[in-house]
Amino acid sequence: MRVTMTMISKQYSKNLNSNLSSLNEAGNKTTNFRKFNKASEDPFSAAKAYQLRREYQQNQDYQSNLSLAQSMLETAESSVTTINNIAQEVNSTDILKAITSTMASNDKKIVSTKLRATQEAIVSTMNTQLGSNYLFGGSGAASAPFTLDANGNLLYRGVNVNTGENSAGATSDVNGTKICFGVANTDLFNGYTITIEQGLNLGRGIESINVSGGNIAITLNAEGSNNGELQTALQNQLDNAFTAAGIGTAGMDFSKITVSGNASATVKTSEFVSGNMVKSTISNIVDLDALANEKIYVDLGLGLNVNNNNVQAQSAFNISMPGIAYLGYGTNADGTPKNIYSLLGKIADQLESGGFSMDNVKPYLNAFDDSQQQLLTKITDIGARTDTLEYTQKRLENMEDSLLAKIDKVEYENPVDAIMDYKMQQYTYTAALQIGTNILQPTFLDFMK
């Protein structure tokens, strides 16, 4: 092949340029130590890196959730332990065990006063806040969960802890749609049933509502209406129906009826009738078991699984601590309350009453022993949850380490390699430059005379 100077110099400048660009690339690597700066440089590593980064971010989220859950449980544990200490102290020979049939009235007064003071301590402890949240408020932790009604009954989020009576009035939970009848109508609607017909397709909402009971049977066409429209329809049409049926509407305030919630929720508390019809009996009694078992989940990377709006229990961590689960709720077979607060009140009542007898007070004392035992079980439960958290934390921390190591491997260059490579490129470039000064050789012309 014929070789000319033009060819040589063209080729040289091309090679020198590619050397320089390699040097530039190697130089970049020594400053940021990244293996690639654009996905196109290494699409396979980039894909891996994206996946690892996502996992790392999730891990960080889980750890942040976990540390919050930990602090909640710690605070809760100390509060519940305080309650337990109070209960133990009350149950000691100084107070409850000191109650005998032959007690002096002075002593009875002292004991009952002490019991009343203890009641207050229990309520204030159970209304403990962490940040702006009430720890023992279950899913309604925005305001203090435990309050007292006018008669001195303990209310948990507005619900009587012994009877389950809702101070807000009767409600009907029809497959997620909550119809509330207001304080004024407390038990006037009890016994009526509400049947809701849902659209056949999920998310189509309510098609019609039937209210029946006594002489009343009305059907409201409610297709596609929202909660507000339903509410107005119920208020007006119920009023008309009751009046038409000749039922006394005295005391009934239809304007207090409210509708909220979501009709497409999975069938939970209401009675399933057929196809797309669900029925619920109107009642002002709230299911206390459901309240005590309320769950609030946080995602700790346990394989979150949400099925039809239901979080699968094992796939997330439950941080809910409904206060009544600790203090007890409902009544025993013999009619004594299970709730510690109520029991103390009952015992104090007995002590203060004129016809005091050991036989009358005994069932309450026994019930108190049981409830205290129940409280201890719950403390153990918190302990078990804390253990789970510790184990999960270790697992998350280990995972974080291994993720960081993997990210480092996929995205970052070993500094030694990067610097060595840079030095090598520098050497090549310098060599190329040196050759360059010699590459334009003398020509024949230099030797012509």
């Binding site: 700066n37 925005a142 909550k178 919630g261 979501n262 946080v298």
Partner: protein
């Protein structure tokens, strides 16, 4: 028998030829670094004795009549030109695509940690935080801020992709089409000049060099074929007439230049007959003056590069009934996916925005209450990446707007429940089947995976085009080297020629003086013997 002074003219021809050769050498040496210059050579022949007009055959030996230069010609291999030009079209095609793709990559850059995917991660983190403080307006406003950054990012990406599209459109319209029209015009005018000077008998080598350079440049834009026809102009001489054709995808040839007549490219906007999507058209006004769109004929070259980037929408072009571009009747076939131009990335972002809005809106709404999180900023328009915004309800809400649970318990306040927030978080790790409007599957995976997959598709494609570009460029460089090997000037060679021609001249002169001396003997010294 040659005449007495015949030798003098022979010597003269030697001197004149050497002089011409020295001139040609000088021309070569002065143009050693001129771009596109082809080395020249004097065409020299030795002149034979002319004895055929004699009545009788000569008995003496006939000697030639010296040397003669008939002209100057170029040393060039036309086959290498053809190869160079066909390879140059491929390099032009891939370079154009590569430059546009690297622009797109700057937008869809997920390697940096503040891209679209990272913002989705941030939104999930904020939702996780909300679990810890559900129903709190303050906690919710951080989720809102994060979501609003996300929609802004969508808008921003979309706008940047549009501006890349406009840039590419501008490059095609103002640079490529104009440049090609200018080149075609210039080549045609040059050809005319070359023809004229050839008719008048002088070769126009330097003009041919110029024309070759322009043809090289033209070959970058479209696939061309060059044809030279020798035309007899009488008195035994011929001139070359040049025709340039555009070779279409189907092999059809469209005349670009025929002597002084030439065609003209144009640019126009239109919609694809099959997909109904906006597209750009490259038109050709042929020699007879009729204009037609020739998009499908441009199979390679810079034009093809631009058309691919601007007109091809990948999977989004698939599944349409194909409309015949001439008769406008359906051909009965269904269109298949095309290459991944800007449109593919724009439409993919739109699909993602729609899907994200649809899933999150459904997650927040209940059957009796429509509580969208995202909406289109233009009322009544379908959500796209460019118009996605926070819904006005969410935007204007001051308290808690996110649905925390869809299963309220029997009591009033359920704001701290988290099951629906977890359901929303879960949506970000749920595989979704992303499809085009025709139901062509794009990708199955999570939202975040869709973003990174998009970035990776681009990366892989770019890698692919880049390696093609490298191969074509290397081949082009090799062919160019071969061309240079034939056509470029070598100083050594010319130096040697210089000495050689100089010596040849000296020899011719010496021959002249030798002749002179020998004739001197005959004229002055003969017949004076004994004087």
């Amino acid at each position: 028998m040659s005449s007495t002074f015949a030798g003098v003219y022979k010597a003269l021809s030697g001197i004149q030829t050497s002089q011409l050769q020295l001139q040609v050498t000088g021309q070569n040496m002065t143009n050693v670094s001129t771009n596109g210059y082809t080395r020249q050579r004097a065409d020299v022949y030795s002149v034979g004795s002319s004895g055929n007009n004699m009545r009788y055959a000569s008995t003496t030996a006939a000697v030639g009549a010296g040397v003669m230069a008939t002209g100057v010609s170029q040393l060039r291999d036309p086959y290498l030109d053809i190869r160079f030009r066909s390879e140059n079209a491929k390099v032009g095609d891939t370079t154009t695509q590569l430059s546009a793709m690297s622009d797109i990559e700057n937008v869809l850059d997920e390697v940096k940690t503040d891209g679209l995917e990272a913002q989705m991660k941030a939104l999930v983190s904020q939702l996780q935080n909300l679990c810890e403080d559900a129903g709190n307006g303050v906690s919710e406003s951080t989720v809102k801020t994060s979501a609003s950054i996300l929609v802004n990012m969508f808008n921003n990406y979309s706008e940047q992709l549009s501006s890349i599209r406009n840039q590419q459109k501008g490059y095609l319209k103002d640079n490529a089409v104009n440049k090609v029209n200018q080149l075609i015009g210039n080549i045609s005018h040059l050809s005319e000049e070359i023809r004229m000077s050839e008719i008048s008998g002088s070769s126009a080598l330097e003009l041919e060099d110029q024309r070759n350079s322009m043809l090289d440049e033209l070959s970058q834009y479209v696939n061309i074929e060059i044809q030279k026809n020798s035309v007899d102009i009488g008195s035994g001489r011929t001139v070359d007439e040049l025709s340039v054709y555009l070779v279409g995808a189907s092999g059809t040839k469209h005349t670009l230049i025929n002597n002084e007549e030439y065609a003209k490219f144009g640019f126009g906007m239109g919609t694809s007959a099959t997909t109904g999507k906006e597209c750009v058209n490259v038109t050709l006004t042929d020699l007879s003056g009729s204009t037609k769109t020739i998009n499908s004929e441009l199979s390679t070259g810079v034009f093809h590069g631009y058309l691919k980037i601007l007109n091809e929408n990948g999977e989004y072009d698939a599944g349409f009934a194909v409309i015949d571009p001439v008769s406008y009747n359906p051909t009965g076939e269904t269109s298949s996916a095309s290459g991944h131009g800007i449109g593919y990335y724009q439409l993919s972002l739109d699909t993602l925005a729609q899907k994200l809005a649809a899933v999150m809106n459904a997650a927040n709404s209940t059957s009796t209450e429509n509580k969208p999180l995202f909406a289109s900023s233009v009322a009544g328009e379908q959500i796209t990446a460019s118009n996605i915004a926070l819904s006005s309800q969410w935007e204007n809400s001051t308290g808690a707007y996110i649905t925390t649970t869809k299963q309220p318990s029997g009591v009033e306040d359920n704001s701290k429940a988290t099951d629906n927030i977890l359901a929303m978080i879960k949506e970000f790790s749920t595989d979704i089947d992303f499809q085009t409007e025709n139901g062509v599957s794009l990708f199955t995976g999570t939202f975040q995976e869709f973003v990174t997959n998009l970035s990776n598709t681009l990366g892989l494609e770019q890698g692919n085009i880049s390696s093609q570009n490298n191969t074509y460029s290397t081949t082009l460089a090799t062919i160019d080297k071969q061309r240079l090997s034939v056509s470029s000037v070598d100083i050594n060679e010319e130096g040697i020629n210089l000495i050689m021609y100089n010596q040849a001249m000296t020899a011719a002169c010496r021959f002249m003086t030798t002749l002179d001396e020998s004739l001197d003997n005959v004229i002055s010294k003969m017949g004076i013997v004994g004087r």
